[in-house]
Subunit: 151 residues, 4 copies
């Protein structure tokens, strides 16, 4: 069970090599993550559990990125079509989760695979805080094996 | 007659003020311009006249930006819906054109108005080169009054 | 009287044409503006009058961008050296100012000229608020003719 | 033996949480990598072995990113001072190398640790090509243990 998030490339994501830049690709993963996991009340994905204020200053909870890993399989061209970013949960920890992505596009090419470890933090104390039973319930069906990298 | 180009914001377009950054908004205009004026054979807009190689190194023609102007009317929030970037041609010169944009979104708010002057350049000589009759024909119905700024 | 702000390009500021992208150049202007006008207590420029919280959420005052204009004179290459962004005040209004820039680099080339209109806003009311006598005093010696564009 | 590369943050690298964005930090690593490993004849670092055309279209050789990993230790604030990005070579392969980074700043805080696997590719064949004896000689003194991540 994966969530499919369409994410549009931009011509400006290309670098001087004429491909979508490797860092820009991580910007696309960030956008897929926001669209998958943060709810705004309109057409939310089934794994959308975080309120908008966890990704802005002043909220009581914040989601911080602790770790990222990405494997680039083939250069990504610019095109007007969105990429199909497939997202699932590779591991559920006490106050963190390992989010996994595979990026497909343009006739089914697998362009990249990536992992982001997100930690839920209480902004008052600056310390990690436990994922709630509601979050665990919403995510349970989307837990799948984490990515095995070739490294 | 305007071309309507839907362009998606990204959460990462926001700056530390929690709005879509004013420079990021110009990145959205760039994307609207590419989607409107460059053709790639799939669902091209009626004003798409430039081949992909005019926006990459090594092409015989290049489109350079000579001037830009933008007026920001109200801060743009992040949302998952695309903005409606409306594009038209404010002035057709010999080897250049003034492209105009109005950016609408989220219930019809007019967020910004902008102008970009694009010059067609022959990369062999580095000099401006004339817009072809084909370009003029394709664009003729989309010429409208340029933007009058409040400055 | 101008303030000279060295601003470093990044290789990643280039686009698929192999030049510093026209929007990236505006990002460099933003950085020059922050370095020139916002004070952080360490080596502040003579026109640094805004506290850091005018450029973050939650401050009592915010500086919003109302208008920008930029004229690109020649493509900017990537290089490790900083550009010399020269900044001055083209016009002092009641609650706004027109900031002017000329971007020089690489042996003295004038790459671009630009203007940003910044408005000081009271975040409690969302309305413009007057530049203080202190701001006017600090800026008085840096008021010079605004840029005359070729448009 | 590490190479120290000063890299400037930009105010615009911040996201809506008011910190240097996690993806922007990778943009800073990209800039450190370019400044460390690509030569342009002016003040080149001791590990600068690649010509500028390996990072632009049209060159005979290209350096592609195969893998990246980054561990974020503490949020990075914006400041005018450059970060001290320390770079070394964690592993030298036949046609690839594992570049390692530690990002320090603002009184010696270790903000992040990262790894990038770069592959040298022959653009005519699209296949990996061997690092030359010259590259190996230049890099030999900068090979150090790769990063051990906490994952």
């Amino acid at each position: 069970m994966r969530v499919h998030i369409p994410v549009h490339r931009r011509w400006g994501d290309q670098d001087a090599l004429g491909h979508i830049n490797n860092v820009s690709l991580m910007k696309l993963l960030e956008e897929a993550r926001i669209r998958a996991f943060w709810r705004d009340g309109s057409g939310d994905s089934p794994v959308a559990v975080f309120d908008a204020d966890t990704v802005s200053t002043g909220g009581r909870l914040a989601t911080l990125i602790a770790r990222q890993e990405v494997e680039y399989l083939t250069p990504v061209p610019y095109a007007k079509d969105p990429l199909d970013v497939q997202v699932w949960i590779g591991k559920l920890g006490g106050s963190s989760a390992e989010l996994c992505y595979e990026v497909f596009g343009d006739g089914g090419s697998l362009y990249a695979r990536a992992t982001t470890v997100v930690v839920l933090v209480d902004t008052a104390t600056g310390r990690p805080t436990r994922l709630t039973p509601e979050i665990r319930a919403a995510w349970a069906s989307y837990v799948e094996d984490p990515i095995t990298y070739r490294r």
